[in-house]
């Protein structure tokens, strides 16, 4: 059952991808501007609060509990619950609006690619990257509905831009049919779950990286050091980051378990064995074990916090390695990069 290739549709898709990358770039700038501007605004608020505190007016002990002293470390991070606060952050709003616009264009690009090829748009490296970036952005936007994770914006959107640019520059492949090895419904199941889990791992990677920075900053502040990383005040405290990234990682881990399992079932269908230590299988297994280690670390005394964050980061680096280096330079049965 092969649909014919529609080249025009494919060209439209590439145009959409380019436009999406452009829109994301502007969104990225807006996110960065938001970090810079908001941290400045917050510092001004702090200074005002500090000045007010000097005036010996009895604010009342009850009140002082709700408003932490301006100098405390807690005051210099965002709310732990990551809910939207009342204050307006115009650049952030612009950034989110642009991201939504970019995602719409991006989505059109993914859909036209699928229509052009007459199949799911994840059959080679170019398509993994463009579709993967789309999923990452959509997951981020969906997360934004529930939580104020705009502090992750520069990271996620920056990564989406990199992925789109890399896809167009390094991995560009015109629309084409799938090689027979990929003509299976398992491609739809196995790869979509892999892409979705990777998108979630992307979010937690960003959070874990921020957690390390924030944890370092909090320690410095507690020790009375100067706050050199002002923009980090928009980011919640290290513990909240750790908890949320743990929750997302559990979902991503289950997803990755399915990726591994469905991959094994497909391997059985295609190659006659469900596990054969093919390079890609090895790395999928390594990633699974690293994240399993992460989950165990969270339950092991002395391994929570910074160490767990490092495991989460190492796991994500393995995901990146698996996607780039293993796909391109390691010989194996998964060499479908289309290069």
């Amino acid at each position: 059952m092969l649909f014919s290739i529609n080249e025009t549709m494919g060209q439209y898709s590439e145009l959409f991808m380019l436009l999406a990358a452009g829109t994301y770039t502007v969104a990225f700038v807006a996110f960065a501007w938001d970090l810079a501007k908001s941290s400045k605004t917050l510092r001004a608020v702090d200074l005002k609060a500090a000045a007010a505190a000097k005036v010996p007016v009895a604010v009342g002990s009850a009140g002082s509990e709700a408003v932490p002293a301006a100098g405390s470390a807690e005051a210099r991070t965002a709310g732990a619950d990551m809910r939207y606060a009342a204050e307006r952050r115009a650049p952030a709003r612009v950034a989110v609006a642009l991201t939504i616009l970019g995602a719409l264009i991006h989505g059109a690009g993914v859909v036209t690619r699928a229509l052009g090829a007459g199949r799911v748009p994840w059959g080679n490296m170019y398509e993994f990257l463009t579709t993967g970036a789309f999923v990452a952005v959509v997951v981020f936007l969906l997360a934004l509905v529930r939580r104020d994770l705009r502090f992750l914006g520069t990271f996620v959107i920056g990564l989406a831009v990199i992925m789109l640019v890399a896809a167009s520059v390094a991995y560009w492949t015109p629309v084409g049919h799938l090689v027979p090895a990929l003509q299976s419904y398992w491609l739809v199941i196995h790869v979509s779950i892999a892409v979705l889990s990777s998108a979630l791992f992307t979010l937690t990677f960003a959070m874990s990286a921020l957690q390390l920075v924030q944890s370092h900053r909090q320690k410095t502040l507690e020790a009375g050091g100067a706050d050199k990383l002002g923009f980090m005040r928009l980011v919640p405290d290290a513990l909240s980051l750790e908890n949320l990234s743990y929750r997302i990682n559990t979902v991503a881990f289950v997803g990755w378990t399915f990726t591994l399992m469905f991959g094994a079932i497909w391997a059985e269908k295609a190659w006659g064995r469900f596990w054969g230590w093919d390079t890609k299988e090895v790395w999928t297994f390594v990633i699974w074990v690293v994240y399993a280690g992460y989950l165990h670390a969270r339950a092991t005394r002395g391994w929570t916090g910074t160490r767990a964050a490092w495991l989460s980061i190492v796991g994500y680096l393995c995901v990146i390695f698996n996607f780039t280096i293993v796909n391109q330079f390691f010989n194996g049965l998964h060499s479908y990069s289309g290069l």
Binding site: D81, P174, Q183, S184, A264, W283, A299
Partner: protein, 558 residues
Amino acid sequence: MSEPVEDTKKSKTLEDAKAGAALPTLGLKGMLRWAWTQLTSMRTALFLLLLLAVAAVPGSLFPQRPANPAVVTQYIKDHPDYGKILDAVQLYDVYSSAWFSAIYLLLFISLIGCVTPRAIAHYRAVRSQPPRTPKRLSRLPEYGTLVVPADAGIPASRAITDAAALLRKRGYRVEVRDADGDRPSLGAERGFLKEVGNLVFHTSLIGVLVSVAIGGLFGYSGQRILVEGDTFVNTLVGYDQFSPGTNFQSSWLQPYSIQLDKFDVKFDRESPAHFGQPIDFTAQVTTKENPGAPAEKKVLKVNDPVTLGGTSIYLTGNGYAPVVTVRDGKGNVALQGPVVAKLQGDNYYSSVVIKVPDAKPEQLGFAGFFLPTAFVTEQGVSFSGDPELINPQLSLNSYYGDLGLDKGTPQNVFELDVKGLTQLNGRDLPTKGITLVPGKTYTLPDGKGSISFDGVKKYVGVDIHHNPGQVSALFFALLAVAGLVVSLYLNRRRVWVRTGTHDDGRTMVEYGLLARGEDHRLAGESAAIRELFQREWQLGPDAPETSDTVASTKTKDQ
């Protein structure tokens, strides 16, 4: 998996470890006990887990024997300096190496040592009543109070039975204490399945491992090349290559047969970038369950194996097989039939080796290339311009002499050992190479015979697998996932409620919640229970009390 049990276990392990360190004269039993506690500690499990990840990596860096033994041999040849050293430390057999096996076996022993006591402990916990009501509920992470007005007519004892009924309905196991006392209370617990899921997950992993072992012991696999018209019969001699499991017995092979009737390849003719890329392989086959069974027509495709006689047959390769006739110096037909051409480059550019041991007086050998669509560049380099048979051509060199087949040493059918041979034709010889198109015959120099190119057939490579551990591996994998999901998303919670009657007749209710392990929805559960109580006692959503602020100070929400 979040393990609250771990804390107590950890400190115990530490104590044990200290005891072991302080008393070196523990004796063998003590040493073993010490080693056991070390091995089954969470920290060791974590270390082994990470070690397993690291140990798996070399298998992707170096060629592996089980996947491709020829590549390993070549690799050792290409790296004379360290190739042998790597072999000595089993880096070409990583996944069956002593060190890799040691890591995962230790991991699984550690796992068993961890799961067993936890299973016993959990069995006891499931059978026992919720823990006694703490003195000060306000110390629990979630805490709230409710006041039932005196005119509601709900005394402390009634309030506690109401609360017990509500919690039971919500899935809690409830025990009421001092029901008729001054300050009746209840303890409730739910989410025992969380730990069950955790235990099921870890146990299932053992199941997966055992299933893999069963496959290794009782399974077998093999390869066979089938040219159109060929029939494979499932007996040991029918295989080109066969890898039996450790416990394999040839009587297990059911003598089914499979004949390749026709093989079709569809090439991409639409997209300029992928022009000529194969997009469909379809093999028409005729199968018989056993020699006496009726013949059945089946289709074999990539991703769509044929199952037969307890095995699955997979389409894993294909190519062209030029049909040739070789006559020897006496004019007799010494070889007639298709010769499998091995893929070498783009567009089915393939190598051909023809060995003619039956040629008299001297054996003949041919080596060269087959091109489905031959093109020759100005430099004289030939290549294949298209994968389909547009201009098929055989380019061969010829040899005569001793092929070395009679010595009994196994030879690669795809390689011609020219040691005992004298070259007849070749590019550098005055006789030049042999170039044949279908229907043509070339007469060898010196009356050595002739070779005719009669036509081209297609061949497929099939893999045949039998793995008795497969189904149970899938079963345990699914069970593991189910256990994982339950253990990650179910929460084990405890609730305590205490009631009392105020001097003015109001009934005071206080409750507290405690989660075992991480539970970000504990606050939500607390709110839900509060709402249940309020509805039950018709207090209205904004009951006049202070617990709202008490509760909110517990969380860090700003």
